[in-house]
């Protein structure tokens, strides 16, 4: 097994100061990150924070209006979009779905279906699958073509908790065996895959970034989710230091208001990438009603999350 990501290899894709604007509004701005072979990058953030937009800009489905996106020449992408509905007028079996964008050998298809645990559904029509089965089929399709970069937009949506852990385990295995880079968009603001190398929190821009590693090892976390979950999922604790006002302007913790908010504009608490060994928490304070779905400081985020999970 290829264990640690080969950090020294040239990145598969790198974004520098990337912004995407639609109808005069910046969907996302000032995004910086890169993905190396074997690296897992997770994007989190509230609805409309630009996660999918960022991912699409990274793989070239959307054109960046500012900044630079560089992709390795001949980069082979496997993509699981956030929304995919297949019109029932199109007869499409799981098996046929596998060869949607590339020709594959029968053995390759079988292996991908086996890995995602849906081999028995090979001949089922995709319209007849449950939400979780359909997600697995999409993931199988994306990995079957052996991509350099796997882009997964909320791959565990509609999957129950144990299924989620199984899928994250699978993603980890894929990374370890193939050494591909993975860009993962999490539907959850605070729980990310433990194997993630870098967590990037977006809210129209990069709010903060760090690694989830330390937290996943904490005793408290393991008590909440069990040791097995501890190997798979991790908290990403973070607070935000500013509020996005309804008119699009930004209220900062220091009381100032600006038209938009970008890193290094002087209003933010310095964002400290914590590194693999450092403490997880990136502390800054938060306004009362940012509407971005975050907990605002007092109660630990993890508790709310846990109640929701257990329910």
């Amino acid at each position: 097994m290829l264990q640690t990501p080969t950090r020294n290899a040239s990145p598969l894709v790198s974004l520098a100061g990337v912004g995407v604007r639609r109808q005069g509004r910046w969907l996302v701005r000032g995004v910086e990150f890169s993905i190396a072979p074997g690296e897992i990058v997770t994007l989190i953030g509230p609805n409309g924070s630009g996660k999918s937009t960022t991912a699409k800009a990274a793989i070239g489905v959307l054109k960046a209006d500012e900044g630079r996106v560089e992709r390795k020449a001949g980069l082979k992408v496997g993509y699981v979009p956030q929304k995919l509905s297949i019109d029932w007028t199109m007869p499409l079996t799981v098996e046929r779905l596998m060869t949607l964008t590339s020709t594959l050998k029968g053995a390759e298809i079988d292996a991908a279906l086996e890995a995602t645990g849906i081999r028995h559904l090979a001949r089922a029509e995709v319209q007849h699958l449950s939400g979780g089965e359909f997600q697995r089929a999409l993931l199988a399709r994306a990995i079957a073509r052996k991509p350099d970069l796997l882009v997964l937009d909320e791959p565990v949506q509609g999957v129950d908790f144990s299924g989620e852990i199984a899928l994250y385990d699978l993603i980890k295995t894929i990374r370890n065996t193939t050494g591909c880079g993975i860009l993962l968009i999490s539907h959850d603001l605070h729980v990310v895959m433990a194997e993630t190398d870098t967590v990037i929190c977006l809210n129209g821009h990069v709010c903060c970034r760090g690694t989830p590693e330390v937290v996943s090892q904490s005793a408290e976390y393991q008590r909440l989710f069990g040791a097995r979950a501890g190997q798979t999922l991790a908290f990403y604790n973070h607070d935000h230091d500013h509020t996005h006002l309804p008119d699009g302007r930004v209220l900062h913790a220091d009381g100032s208001i600006t038209d938009d908010c970008r890193p290094n504009d002087g209003h933010h608490t310095p964002v400290v990438p914590t590194g693999r060994a450092g403490p997880m928490r990136i502390v800054h304070t938060h306004g009362p009603d940012c509407g971005c779905g975050h907990d605002h400081g007092a109660a630990p985020d993890s508790n709310g999350q846990q109640e929701k999970r257990d329910a």
């Binding site: 979009p81 929304k83 949607l100």
Partner: protein
């Protein structure tokens, strides 16, 4: 064999149906039925322009239909009106302009009914060649770009992310459709072209387990409808174009009555699951 007008009609009609099968499947899958209608209606404008400028009819119809589809793409990008409103405007505006122009041209005798409803019994040997030549070209093109066509129909962003060019595919598909409309106009007529695209494809859905099977079945069902419709029109002395469409409808209804592989209820429930 092709000396007999009925034989010529049969051969031309079957050729068109075979071409329309796979193309019609994409019209159904991509929900472009009304779009196809709009392109077909614009054909009358093409006819009028061809008469006015003394230009080849087929090429003129093709150019107008292609232009209308490009215009629609452009208007869609501006995003001021919904697509179906835009289609409604373009569809009937081009039809009306065509009719008005034709009425002005008092110096030409034009069989308007022939263009609107088709005149398959009047196809010449050259028309038969055209239908088969153009048809083979269209089918060849569809087979050639089959995978990107299917992939971008399922999800254009996915296709683009994995190295395809869904915009170009879409453009190529529209040009093929314009070509088929230009070819089909004489056979089933402007107002009935889309039915020959959609009805066989819809009939084939029920018996298909893959897009490929559905495309082939749609061709065969369409051919059956042409044969049935033409013999029907001969027997009952009915207009040939509409008779073909009625025959296609008959096959569609028959397919509804036959025992379905899966119930409709299951389909809709599963569809929601797929979208989740």
């Amino acid at each position: 064999m092709l000396d007999d007008f009925f034989m010529r009609a049969l051969v031309a009609g079957v050729g068109l149906a075979l071409t329309a099968g796979p193309l019609g499947c994409f019209v159904v899958w991509r929900r472009m039925a009304y779009f196809g209608d709009t392109m077909a209606h614009s054909a009358l404008l093409g006819v009028a322009l061809s008469l006015l400028m003394n230009f080849n009819l087929l090429i003129s119809v093709f150019i107008v239909a292609a232009t209308v589809s490009l215009l629609l793409l452009l208007l869609q990008k501006r995003g001021t009106l919904s697509t179906d409103a835009l289609l409604g405007i373009l569809s009937h505006a081009t039809l009306a302009i065509g009719l008005v122009m034709v009425s002005f041209m008092t110096w030409v005798r034009i069989d308007l009914v022939g263009f609107l409803f088709g005149d398959i019994l009047a196809v010449s040997r050259a028309d038969v060649d055209l239908v088969w030549g153009g048809g083979i070209l269209v089918v060849f093109a569809i087979v050639w770009m089959w995978r990107p066509l299917i992939a971008s129909t399922v999800n254009p962003e996915l296709a683009e992310a994995e190295g395809m060019q869904p915009e170009k595919t879409r453009l190529a598909f529209m040009l093929l459709m314009a070509l088929v409309i230009a070819i089909a106009m004489k056979i089933v007529g402007i107002l009935l072209i889309t039915s020959l695209l959609i009805i066989p494809a819809a009939t084939a859905r029920r018996f298909s387990t893959s897009p490929e099977i559905m495309a082939v079945l749609a061709s065969l069902i369409g051919a059956l409808a042409v044969v049935g419709g033409l013999f029907g029109s001969l027997k009952f002395d009915t207009p040939s174009g509409p008779s073909i469409v009625v025959a296609a409808l008959g096959l569609f209804i028959l397919s509804l009555i036959t025992k379905p592989r899966t119930s409709v209820v299951e389909h809709s429930a599963a569809n929601q699951g797929g979208q989740a």
